[in-house]
């Protein structure tokens, strides 16, 4: 079955159980980091360099990165991703009314806007035993698709874009710039740029057309977001069991106009990032190695079917498959499961290389999830977090405020591409008005706007690297626009038919409850796990996409996704002397993940220990 490392098997009904002969099914031997070879290399060779980047800019929040680079061999020997911020949200949430969690957890990340408050409301709904009415779900889908329509352009044109701009390419790879001036584009009819160099000039910070358009393009979906959610970021109308938005045709029309106005920029973006990617591949095939890592990706799915979602854990595998993005786990490029239970029970979180104390297995609260599947002592529902600001940074030991989430002890990656990958590969997508899952691609039928109607197709890539991440993000914008558009048409229909309720009434339960919200952000999936009793939260924990991607080395010795991507990155920039090395290839690898460090924050609260939150927010790199 889908688990290779954890001793989990399934009976005929598909229920998970632990193989009986394994004595301590979740025990492991900690693998120590051995730096002796690297230290020796560093001491001996002038061309092997300690590269500290603190902070890594043009990411959301505080990230630092340390690497050891061989400038002669042009390869990376060591890479460490460092989160330098801790805020303690989970401690703050502990003992509060669960309804406060939506507003407080939203503040975990101001980049991902409402994704946390919605994930929180999903977890609360599961705990309360309620589900939103259809219109509430459709509106939720619209908003959380629009969220990414502004989040992704922000990344492509403001954060990552400048790495492919004239000012940077001219400086780091003059020969590439010369080549770009001669490289004609294939789709000037769509985007208006005759050569690759023109695209690069348009990506210049401050003055470039695409930079400025990108900034402006983030405002249009924001307006639509504010119309239905009150404000952006940190929406004001998310409530347990739906929304508190007052909706009429006015709001839907205003939203409709804004979705439509973003479509042209979405279409253009796909062609621009296709041209850029192909240009780099043609110029030097080694660019396919930049940010390369194994095709291990996961996603929990997002955007619920208004007529299928019931908010229960028991039915999560069914309603999960009805989502506009199919949940799934991809190992070595193969889809191994689409079942939300499997995804949940495989989750574990480790803190061996983070500034936390491990928690004791003796306080294990949950051996099984509510459906009877076994869960690890390291599962979020069991986790106790103890921040320990007593450790000095050491590449051999602890070096980040981020924790290390794993699925089945594999190093997984989260992202827009994971979402589209599982959706494309699973062929389960029930919503085919604009989208089609073919098993190897996701087809998008984009209606006519100023630009003509287009059939765009994102194909699951053969190589997995930084360029494919960015290329996918451009397609993901269009994907989200279409999800928003389809849900908007659905909402208009629902309103007309009298499905006017946007929220389901509830009472705050006083008994012991447990819940999880499986949702998504602009850079991949996220989960909120909560436990409550006597009307108050006793445990709350968040895993975000950047928690996973920015993770440090795990106890089994495997580096996190950023680290792995940087380790595989060849140094392709042009320089004569070691001092001239800028690290652009490393930056492209890191930024391709769209790091969001505020989001990497963990929120955790527990009875007995000081809860902690890890924030991978913009840490300084070392």
């Amino acid at each position: 079955m889908c688990f290779q490392n954890l001793p989990i098997e399934f009976d005929e009904q598909g229920r998970a159980y632990l193989r009986e002969e394994v004595e301590n099914p979740y025990a492991y031997q900690r693998h120590e980091i051995d730096r002796s070879r690297i230290e020796e290399l560093l001491a001996r060779n002038g061309h092997i360099k300690d590269v500290n980047i603190d902070p890594v800019t043009r990411v959301a929040g505080a990230l630092a990165f340390h690497s050891v680079v061989d400038l002669k061999e042009r390869r990376v020997y060591e890479a460490n991703s460092v989160a330098t911020l801790f805020r303690g949200y989970e401690v703050i949430l502990k003992g509060r009314d669960p309804r406060d969690a939506m507003f407080i957890s939203s503040r975990v990340c101001g980049v991902c806007g409402g994704v946390h408050s919605v994930a929180s409301s999903l977890a609360i709904e599961m705990a309360f035993g309620i589900a939103p009415p259809p219109l509430g779900l459709a509106l939720r889908n619209i908003q959380l698709a629009l969220d990414f329509c502004l989040d992704n352009p922000l990344h492509l044109y403001i954060l990552a874009g400048p790495d492919f701009s004239e000012v940077v390419v001219k400086n780091t790879n003059p020969s590439l710039w010369e080549r770009a001036k001669k490289a004609e584009t294939r789709h000037a009819d769509v985007h208006g740029y005759e050569t690759i160099a023109e695209i690069m000039t348009a990506l210049n910070p401050l003055t470039g057309q695409l930079y400025l358009e990108g900034l402006n393009a983030t405002r249009v979906p924001r307006e639509a977001y504010a119309i239905l959610y009150g404000k952006y970021p940190h929406p004001q109308t998310v409530v347990p069991g739906g929304l508190s938005t007052t909706v009429s045709l006015k709001e839907l029309n205003e939203t409709h106009n804004r979705i439509v106005r973003t479509l042209d920029f979405g279409k253009k973006g796909v062609f621009i990032w296709n041209e850029l990617t192909d240009f780099f591949y043609d110029a030097d095939p080694r660019y396919k190695e930049v940010g390369k890592r194994p095709k291990n990706l996961m996603d929990t799915g997002i955007w619920d079917d208004p007529f299928a979602y019931d908010g229960t854990y028991a039915n999560a595998p069914e309603w999960g498959l009805r989502r506009w993005a199919t949940p799934g786990i991809v190992i070595d490029g193969e889809l191994v499961t689409t079942n939300l239970h499997h995804i949940n029970v495989g989750l574990e979180e480790f803190v061996e290389h983070s500034y936390y104390e491990d928690w004791s297995n003796e306080t294990l609260r949950h051996r099984f999830d509510p459906a009877g599947n076994p869960i690890s002592p390291h599962h979020p529902w069991n986790k106790e977090t103890k921040p320990a600001p007593v450790h000095k940074r050491s590449w051999k030991d602890r070096y980040t405020w981020d924790t290390c989430p794993r699925w089945d002890r594999h190093v997984m990656e989260a992202g827009t591409y994971a979402r589209m990958w599982t959706t494309a590969a699973a062929q389960q997508l029930p919503h085919t008005r604009f989208l089609e899952s073919t098993g190897h691609s996701l087809k998008m039928h984009v209606p006519k706007t100023v630009l003509p109607a287009m059939d765009l197709e994102w194909r699951i890539p053969e190589v997995w690297n930084a360029f494919e991440r960015n290329r996918n993000r451009a397609y993901h914008i269009v994907y989200c626009q279409l999800v928003a558009y389809e849900n908007l048409l659905l909402a208009m229909d629902l309103l007309k038919r009298g499905y006017t309720k946007v929220a389901t009434p509830y009472e705050v339960p006083q008994d012991h409850r447990i819940g999880v919200g499986f949702w998504g952000a602009g850079r991949g999936w996220l989960t909120h796990h909560l436990e409550m009793d006597k009307g108050a939260l006793i445990n709350y924990q968040i895993i975000t996409p950047s928690t996973i991607n920015a993770a440090p080395v795990d106890p089994f010795g495997n580096p996190g996704a950023y680290e792995e991507a940087v380790l595989n990155t060849p140094i392709l920039e042009e320089f004569d002397k070691p001092e001239e090395f800028t690290g652009i290839d490393i930056f492209r690898a890191i930024r391709s993940f769209d790091p969001c460090m505020p989001c990497t924050t963990h929120i955790y609260a527990d009875d007995h220990v000081v809860s902690r939150e890890v924030n991978t927010c913009g840490c300084g790199i070392e």
Binding site: Y89, E166, L206
Partner: protein
Amino acid sequence: MPQRLIVSPTTADIAEPLADEQSRNFPNQVGNVAGATMDELAERLMKRAGREEMPGPLKKVVVFWMSGMGCDGCTISTLGATEPTVEELLTGSIPGVPIVVLHHYAASIESGDAFTHALEQAAKGELDDPYVIVYEGSIPDENLTVYGEPWAAEGSLPTWAPDEERRSVPTAEWVYRLAPGAAATIAIGTCATWGGIPAAEGNPTGAMSVMDFLGEEYRSAYGLPVINVPGCAPVGDNFTETVAMLLLFLNKQAPLPEFDEIGRPAWLFKETVHRHCPRAGWYEEGTFAEEYGDRECLVEIGCWGPVVNCNITERGAVGHMGGCMVAGGVCIGCTMPGFPDKFTPFYKKPPGSTFSTTGSRLLGMFVRPLRRLSQLERNRESRWHDEVPSGWALEYDTTTVTHKVVEYFYHKLQYFRAEKPGRQDEVEQYSSGWVTPAEAAYGEHYQVLPEKRAKLAARHNAPRREWTAPQALEREVPVSPSVDPYGLVHHDLEERE
């Protein structure tokens, strides 16, 4: 796409270096991917796009935007602002507002030491240009991390030192070192202004606001206490507007704008958010939302608007669109120093509202029926008397005797010592005796519907066109077919609200 002031690029070449740039001489180039810092790119823009011909003594201001225990929401909010936009500030496009060099971890082209270098220079007092600090997020108590890594750090020092000689620099330390020399220190967002959520009850980090951290005695180099633009996240326009106004002041182009006793821009935060709320009228009539999604006043489902200083209902959230209560979200007091703990549990009715809503309910009991009566009459043309001749009017509020009586006296009152429209008095008639064509054709009671006019016309021998009488319906009205792309069952109308 709506057009903003700047949507087309300037043609200034910012890829070619100027002669005296420093960053290419840094001991190593790691992170300096463009071979230029944001400051140098701004210089290129100024020199090549004629931005130097700016009024006022200041041509350029460096903004050090630092984030402590924040979520980047203030940054994101600011990027969405349109009054002015960030690109207008960054490209020096507003006369009198110096070009803003934004030194920000999410926007700067340079990373690592190339980025930290400017902070270091400012801390040493070696920066040529005046600078402003913008601080986002709350300030943790780093006394709790004496033996470990800081709660919140940005950059490491010394720059360009080997790995083992470096230390992470807490953002709090940067504030401590940079604030005295800053032209102004601006706290953006509720974390930085009042502590916000990271400083809420139960927090493990001892977090606090910038104002609390710097103390009551703090004054910037220009003599200003900490400026506070609160909100979680703040309305982006509130921030960029404050910055633009402040830069005009620093550049001697405008007076210092007014701030209130806790450093908030007074013109933005003087009023309660309820006063501009589109739902305030419901409050006045004593009608309140009972469920999420209702369109009435939200006070009884948890809104604190009547006691919260904020302008989001007036200004909107983004591009003048949205706003919490405009959309249907309760006010949770996110701009207030007491946020969050003085407003929790969220969605529980504020206790103080019981008294006032009872009052408005009592008043509303009298006001509402009277208003509906007047409203009904005003929803009628003067040509309608007993019936409403609309094709839509399958049902219409009927006029009762009470209504007629009330309206009679209302009418009297309305025109008591006031001029009723029309030529009532002899001196108001035309002296020649001329009457309007309508009156000539139908007499003085010409304000009637066509059927009645036909009769009046006959009495006055007025000429008629054949096609002016309303037509009788001679064909069946088609009913639009129901489109059901989702195969939904038709919903029972009774479930409608």
